[in-house]
Subunit: 248 residues, 2 copies
Amino acid sequence: MDFKKFLEIESIEAWKKYIPTLSIDSVIFSFHKNELQVLLLKMKDMESWGLPGGYVKKTENVDEAAVRILKDRTGTENIYLHQFHTFGNRNRSEDAFADYNDDIWYKQRFISIGYYALAEHSQVKLVIDEFSSAVEWHPIEILPEFMMDHRAIFDKALITLREQLNNHPIGYNLLPEKFTMPELQKLYEGILGKKLNRGNFYRKILRYDILTKLDESRKGGAHKAPDLYSFDLEKYNSALKEGLQGNW
Amino acid sequence: MDFKKFLEIESIEAWKKYIPTLSIDSVIFSFHKNELQVLLLKMKDMESWGLPGGYVKKTENVDEAAVRILKDRTGTENIYLHQFHTFGNRNRSEDAFADYNDDIWYKQRFISIGYYALAEHSQVKLVIDEFSSAVEWHPIEILPEFMMDHRAIFDKALITLREQLNNHPIGYNLLPEKFTMPELQKLYEGILGKKLNRGNFYRKILRYDILTKLDESRKGGAHKAPDLYSFDLEKYNSALKEGLQGNW
């Protein structure tokens, strides 16, 4: 069956199952090989890339839909998920299905609620579903062409994530349990897209008081073994909720 | 005509004019008498208070709808407006119109996009429209009972506004053109809901490099006349866009 026919059949169920005009798009970040990466997929019959997304069931809260969609796409549930913006310009979605009948579900004016997720790279299973021809991680420094307004959605997610660095701790879902200071600095640099001064970084991150210095260092290598740290989860979660030390 | 009949007639037009299932709620803050205040209204036939809101026309972008609704409610356009969260739990709106027929516009499951606005108190005209019996400013320290989930929407707006203090300058829409340091500190304290140390406040706010110290002081009063400041709008707008000095 060709893809157009497939969508026409899916459309009938979609009208019954989902709230109209409302979609969800997810910007799923991970940190791998010292790079911030984002999960993109290619829809069948399309050349450009898009963000994984879905719709909200009539029986679901919107946040529940976001969790379900993320699970369907990545196979994992325990991921930091944050709603960051809703995108509602006219014609952001209508033109993508210009060749289809006007009553097809996919050709509606969709208002899309954006969520970003921070996922551990190794935990994510890449699921190619019936709508997609490819699912891949892409380093944020080298991104392909996006469909619709998905580039703007990605950009807004990244800006929000950067701002969140001033309000909340980050790293628990992105780094291994034990990590070195240079690894943590690389994560911040990957998100911010710029180099940070090592001394300033150490001072500032220690002032947040969310790290535990471990009684072990990393073995191997010719240089002095670097100290290992982990997050103090009680303080980390408190800072997630109450904001970081040293803010207003 | 009673209010129920009025809503039934309005409903017919609403179905034609607006995107279904989507609403906007605005949390309009101002700073007056050294207090942070919020604009609340009472719907006819209801005892509890609500946030001013509205719907999105089929011909409008969502952000345009937010501007239009704000203008209708306050008579002003040049207000800082920021989308902060979308509220999509089941049954957040359906029960409020339990006594009405199921096909009335107002009884839908609404997903509501929240915007907060920072308005100059004296510029706002309080408009009582056909749906409302009262429109008033309320100090955020003494709030009445809210309808539906509007208390949760208000709380989320305030949390977001507090977090924004760590990322962006604030005050241009809330203070008069010339102000003293104690007045600026009172604004921050009003938003944060806590007292700040005077010395720390001065140091931190000066480090942001968004203020111009004026060659004048406020006349009158027995004490030493306090220095006046204004915002350096070029630096202020740049910090709005790029983030504050001293952040990551």
